[in-house]
Amino acid sequence: MPDFGFGIQDDLMIDHDRLSPAYEAVLEEVPSIAGCMSCGSCSATCVSSFQSGAGFRKLIMLLKNGSYEQLQQALDYCQFCGKCLLVCPRGINTRRAILEMRKQFKKQGDDMV
């Protein structure tokens, strides 16, 4: 069947009225993520961000905004090297937070439990 001329564009608007249960769950486990001020030190140092397009601050943003699909894709690239942990000026336990995010989306392999 031929495609019609009009595709349907997904709504790009972020709805901050929508809650993010995954954010609340990760926050519970790693309270320090509340201190993220989106400085971007983590993204600049991340060895995977050139593949995933997302450093830690962006993971937090996607988690807060409920963009779970994009988040899950980005999470796959994390190598748990912990460089973001070293550079974070707010002392956020980034590595643990990413692990919790992966648990949320049942992405952890056997090697990471």
Binding site: L12, M13, I14, D15, H16, D17, G35, S38, R57, K64
Partner: protein, 357 residues
Amino acid sequence: MKKICYDCVIVGAGPAGLKAASILDKQGYTVCILEKEKIPGGKLNIWHELFPHHESAQAIREQMLAGTAAPIHSPVTIKSISRTADGYCVKDRNEDEYCAPALLIATGFKPFDACRKEEYGYGIYENVITSVDLEQMFRQHRVVNASGEVPGKIAFIHCVGSRDIKVGSEFCSANCCITGIKQAIELKKMIPHVNICCFYMDLRLGGRFFEDCYKTSQVKYKVQYIRGRLSETNENTDQSVILRYEDTLAGRPAKITVDMVVLLVGMHPDPSILHLLPEIDERVGSDGFFGKGKIDQADQSSDDGLFFAGACTGPKSIIQSTDEASAVACRISLYLKEKLYTETEDQHARLWIRHSG
């Protein structure tokens, strides 16, 4: 109709005026303060708690008033100011005259009139209030929305009337960021389940302990910060307010519905002292505040007995205002000493002998 002569007349009984009065007064000069409002204290009268340590504004006001024995004339509406051979003569509506060789202007600031940002809905939607209105609610220990209910979700809007060419104020008011954070923490203490989002472009937290407040608000009180300037507000039928903005960190348009919007209004120059004396009008800078704001504070070291201190020389916190007032009080003291006293070399000690006033 009476004429009283002092060493220094201070216009404005806010933190700066009171501080300068207390220093000059303790050094033995005769000082009086003229205040346009009924009660002295300036903006301390409209604030509940002060950043960054949540000190009581009322207590600080009492402390400052107790610090000076100078007479405070209030309410006084200044009708004219004239230059005389000996200095300045300030005349009020009752034709009373207050004359002195030195005149200190400490008229402070005026909160931005949020009605001028029409797209934010202040004065149109009942649940859009300003930070000044919120302080009034804090003073009454009751924060409710227009229908008398405790709000569940509140948005704070930074930079209202600041950094905005459309309202003629391109400067940063410097104190609204920390005021918003302070108020968010106060609200969370009062209503623990309330959800608070702050909409900011930058968070300018230059003062000591301000960053601590910011981090505490994030980690302890779970205040959310969304980067983006509010574009417009709309009201729902239930009087809740929809905000439209861009989440600039995500690079996408966004919206949120809240029960109450708090506009963090900026500090604007108070024009009430203008058009009375050309020497005063001449000192107005490009942003509407007095002086040039240069490092050597040339605008405050006066050779004609006219001095400025506090928020009338630019947006300032209370600490900064009183610090400047202290420095200016020292300059006034030196000026008066030169003008009123003769130094003589005594056998035992140097003496200052008063020759006029």
